[in-house]
């Protein structure tokens, strides 16, 4: 890399590549004749970014790694071709494949925290491949590593190169991974949800860096994600995957303006908008796993437009318009889609408030470290207050202090006029019952060895609300309220999907009959479509039961659809607060404006 400035695109030699052609790709499970993905045809033109979108379990990551002739243990690539300049990657000898990986097709992994080796210094990991292949001298490799880091906006000094992955923030790690992928100057890049879990500012930075580098080097990229809003900003074309097949494929603007497939429409319906509150909707049911996919159209059991034909005949990809294809029998019969469908009035800022919980002059400490400074806000009955900020802004710390999970704080937290003790242990059983905490990660917050019934029953027994048969009946009732079938009563938590687990966690909180629920990033580990259905559920609970919620999130668009008031946090201080409409339509602070402008949006 001769230049260090990424915007000097013309300084780079844009190579004439033919891009990548995927033909009839299929991946199957070993031992069983079951397709994970099948019938994938996709072309990545040179310099083009294609978004591959779908819910968890749709097979999008499987397609992504197949481009590097890699499949996870338990699966194998069973058919098809991946053509890179007329060479079939899938037919190559494994030695050639290893050589091709990195140099010609590079991969950027999903999880920034676990994707870099914890025991190898950043600088060494960056140049490892070049060193093994004997490319350049050690000085030239080091210089290339520094240039690569500069391109992604990271420090290039020796001290930084000597760091380990755990000494970097999530965004820094992800940009190191990006620099590492670009270092050998690949022709094709596969990015597997590289920004999931990053806050909006970092996400924007990573996405911009990626787009710039792709343009500068003429790299074709496949961007795998579950969030359509993310690809809205960077992709040239979008492929929507469902249950192992491409459901719809087309230019970005067409997909967002004229989605032809009911599934694409359902995904778009689940995305919150920054400009206006929406009644978010999830997609009923869950993505069928390989081997359990229905006959006919695979989406028929979740589709709002289903007819008998969909259950019997397998649809083919049909051309809707030039370059726009959809796999649906009823293309053209189901009317048009409007982005403003489902918008609802914003929460009324003038509504009288009956304060139930108030936080005054809260200062929180971790040991000697002062992390939250003088934060005051309150929460009214039946109201949702959102705490918004980047990672490290103290939003989770505040919610943990309110919930009594973190006790090293000063100030006053009053609940119906009574000051609450610092730690939950020293609060009365009734106060504990009336304030319930829902955790971010449903994979860690449910005991995998207990059945759903035991999990939901526990708070009832603990607080003496019900027991025995009566408790079981109430569990079934609660499961109905969170849209879980009663057949799941005896399932262990480990059998459920992420969204189902989070519903169980919500049912567990509801079992205590709370007045306040503290929701700590409860949708950020979930697919956008699942987030939609969880938000729908919470909104119903708020209206029916008048439960107040403290909603912690980094997603401002989500705030618009769920909350009435918002507290914008930066480095442990509230920088702006007020009703959602006021703050988001007329932000007063630069920080708020920056957060808003960095949020991915489709509206």
């Amino acid at each position: 890399m001769a230049t260090t400035t990424p915007d000097a695109g013309q300084g780079h030699e844009v190579r004439a590549t033919t891009g990548l052609i995927i033909e009839d790709l299929g991946v199957s499970l070993t031992g069983r004749e079951v397709d994970v993905v099948d019938d994938i045809d996709l072309v990545l033109k040179p310099g083009e970014v294609v978004g591959l979108v779908g819910e968890s379990g749709s097979g999008k990551t499987t397609v992504g790694t197949s481009l590097l002739n890699y499949s996870r243990a338990g699966a194998f690539i069973s058919s098809g071709k991946v053509l890179l300049e007329d060479r079939d990657v899938l037919k190559m000898h494994w030695k050639e494949v290893r050589k091709l990986r990195g140099e010609e097709i590079a991969y950027v992994p999903q999880d920034p925290a676990s994707a870099l080796n914890p025991s190898i210094r950043i600088g060494k990991q960056l140049v490892e491949l070049q060193q093994l292949r004997g490319i350049g001298t050690s000085e030239s490799r080091l210089q290339a590593a520094r240039d690569g880091l500069a391109e992604v906006g990271l420090p290039t000094d020796d001290e930084f190169l000597k760091r380990y992955a755990h000494q970097l923030s999530g965004g820094q790690v992800q940009r190191v991974a990006l620099a590492m992928a670009f270092l050998p100057k690949p022709k094709v890049l596969v990015l597997d949800e590289p920004t999931t879990g990053l806050d909006v500012t970092t996400q924007k930075m990573v996405l911009d860096t990626m787009a710039e580098l792709c343009r500068a080097y003429g790299v074709s990229a496949l961007y795998v994600t579950h969030d359509l809003a993310v690809v809205a900003n960077i992709a040239d074309r979008v492929a929507v995957m469902y249950a192992g097949q491409i459901a719809e494929l087309g230019p970005r603007d067409t997909i967002f303006a004229n989605p032809a497939h009911p599934y694409t429409r359902a995904l778009l319906d689940s995305i919150p908008h920054l400009s206006q509150a929406r009644a978010l909707k999830g997609i009923p049911g869950r993505t069928p796993s390989p081997g359990r996919r229905p006959d006919g159209c695979r989406f028929n059991d979740r589709c709002a437009f289903v007819v008998d034909r969909c259950r019997q005949e397998v649809p083919e990809l049909r051309t809707v318009a030039p370059e726009h294809e959809a796999r649906c029998h009823r293309v053209g019969e189901i009317g048009t889609w409007d982005i403003n469908l489902g918008t609802v009035p914003d929460a009324d800022p003038e509504k009288p408030r009956d304060v139930i919980l108030s936080v005054e002059r809260l200062d929180v400490f971790y040991g000697r470290k002062h992390v939250v400074h003088d934060v005051s806000f309150n929460l009214a009955k039946g109201e949702v207050v959102a705490l918004v900020g980047e990672s490290g802004s103290g939003k989770t710390t505040i919610s943990r202090s309110v919930g009594g999970l973190h006790k090293d704080w000063t100030g006053d937290i009053t609940f119906e006029g009574r000051r609450l003790a610092n730690s939950a242990r020293r609060r009365s059983a009734d106060d504990r019952r009336r304030m319930q905490y829902i955790f971010q990660n449903p994979y860690l917050s449910l005991n995998p060895r207990l059945s759903i019934e035991q999990i939901i029953k526990r708070p009832m027994e603990l607080f003496g609300l019900a027991k025995g048969k009566e408790a079981t009946e109430r569990v079934v009732e609660l499961m109905g309220q969170v849209a879980l079938g009663s057949q799941m009563l005896h399932y262990p938590a480990s059998r459920l999907s992420g969204g189902e687990r989070q519903r169980v966690a919500i049912a567990r909180a509801l079992a205590a009959e709370p007045d306040v629920m503290i929701c700590d990033e409860i949708t950020s580990a979930l697919d956008v479509s699942v987030q939609g259905s969880i938000v729908e559920l919470l909104e119903g609970l708020r209206l029916e039961r008048g439960i107040s919620m403290l909603f912690v999130t980094h997603n401002l668009a989500l705030v618009r659809s769920i909350a009435a008031r918002v507290e914008i946090l930066q480095a442990g201080r509230v920088v702006e607060a007020g009703s959602v409409v006021t703050v988001m339509d007329t932000p007063q602070q630069d920080y708020t404006r920056k957060l808003l402008s960095n949020s991915p949006r489709i509206d």
Binding site: T65, Y70, R72, A73, R98, K99, L100, R101, G102, E103, A106, Y107, P109, Q110, D111, P112, A113, S114, A115, L116, N117, P118, S119, I120, E128, L129, L132, E159, K162, R163, Y164, H166, Q167, L168, S169, G170, A177, M180, A181, E193, T196, G197, L198, D199, Y366, K369, V371, S391, G392, T396, T397, R400, H406, F439, Q440, N441, D520, E521, S524, A525
Partner: protein, 344 residues
């Protein structure tokens, strides 16, 4: 899918360690660990002393029927043991001796304890060290091969053999080795170690082979199985997947990316196993007539030679503590996260 940590992680936010304070932080940490080690050793000394004192009157046991008749000998032994004094003062005397390097005098033959045990302690340490030198690369090598072929035939075969070796008592392995290599089939190595009074068993290197081989076979399965299990976990991690997708050859993935992160549990098991070996594997020592600590300890207990038992127990405890301390230091040095946490 990554999630933000629920608690702010002090490591993630803090600046990386600076050279100046790093050294001081390390010294402080090491001093604390050494202090703890000394404290542990002191507690062991209390337990050892109380246990040997609770055994009953050693003088009566040693003299047996002569207890009533041989008054001169009885009085001499009682004076040596300080039978008349309180238990506290006897303990303090003994502890004072230990601190100054005086382990006392043997009751059985009136020779200084240290003179008698120094050569056996050295013998055992050499045996353990040789076994470790052979065992560590062997165990890691087997683990890597096994992990590479996970759940396929070579892995199954290796795991079955290892489990069988772990299940067979070490003296049975020894007997089989003797039968195979020394008496019945081949006659390559001597069946016993012959050591002269002043010499050491390793003066005849051939004689060391079978004892070392037996111990290696006894310990390797444990270490190898633990390292394999950790390796399998690491091989499933995202960073190994990324290394493969980056185009790193599999051998390098295994050596550099996987092994480096799987080594720590291995070190902990190695430490426990080596400490166990240092405690003396009496049956193996007896089998090969190897003049080691275990055999001497059993003899001393049988002779009611209290000072010898105390000294040997303290040395074994010392080896345990030192080996585990070394293992902890190595583990931390090999875990960057823990290492940077100390120096910052």
């Amino acid at each position: 899918m990554t999630l933000e940590a629920t608690l702010p992680d002090p490591l993630a936010e803090g600046a990386p360690p600076r050279g100046r304070s790093g050294g001081a932080a390390w010294a402080l940490w090491l001093a604390r660990r050494l202090g703890l080690a000394v404290l542990t050793l002191w507690l062991v000394s209390v337990v050892v002393f109380l246990a040997t004192a609770a055994l009953g009157d050693p003088v009566r046991a040693i003299l047996g029927r002569d207890y009533e008749t041989n008054v001169a000998r009885r009085e001499q032994l009682e004076a040596q043991l300080g039978v008349g004094d309180s238990i506290v003062s006897r303990y303090l005397d003994w502890l004072g001796g230990l601190v100054t390097g005086d382990f006392g005098t043997s009751l059985a033959n009136q020779l200084p304890v240290w003179e008698q045990i120094s050569s056996t302690v050295a013998n055992t340490l050499v045996l353990v060290l040789l076994s470790a030198l052979v065992m560590i690369p062997l165990a890691f090598g087997i683990a890597m091969i096994s992990a590479h072929f996970r759940r396929r035939r070579p892995d199954t075969v290796i795991q079955t053999i290892l489990l069988a070796l772990a299940g067979v008592p070490e003296f049975v392995t020894g007997i089989l080795l003797v039968a195979l290599l020394s008496t019945s089939v081949f006659h390559v190595f001597p069946a016993v170690t012959i050591s002269t009074l002043d010499g050491h068993p390793w003066d005849e290197p051939k004689g060391m082979v079978l004892p070392v081989a037996t111990l290696v076979l006894a310990v390797t399965p444990y270490v190898s199985r633990i390292v394999r299990a950790t390796l399998l976990e690491v091989l499933d991690s995202d960073y190994v997947e990324l290394a493969r997708l980056k185009g790193i050859p599999e051998a390098v993935v295994m050596r550099k990316h996987a092994l480096l992160n799987a080594i720590v549990p291995g070190i902990q098991v190695i430490a426990l196993q080596l400490a166990w070996l240092a405690g003396g594997v009496v049956l193996v020592e007896t089998l090969f007539a190897y003049p080691g600590v275990g055999k001497q300890l059993v003899d001393s207990v049988r002779n009611h030679d209290v000072p010898m038992v105390q000294a040997l127990s303290m040395i074994i405890a010392g080896v345990y503590i030192v080996v585990n301390l070394v293992a902890d230091v190595l583990s931390i040095l090999l875990t960057p996260r823990a290492r940077t946490a100390i120096s910052s």
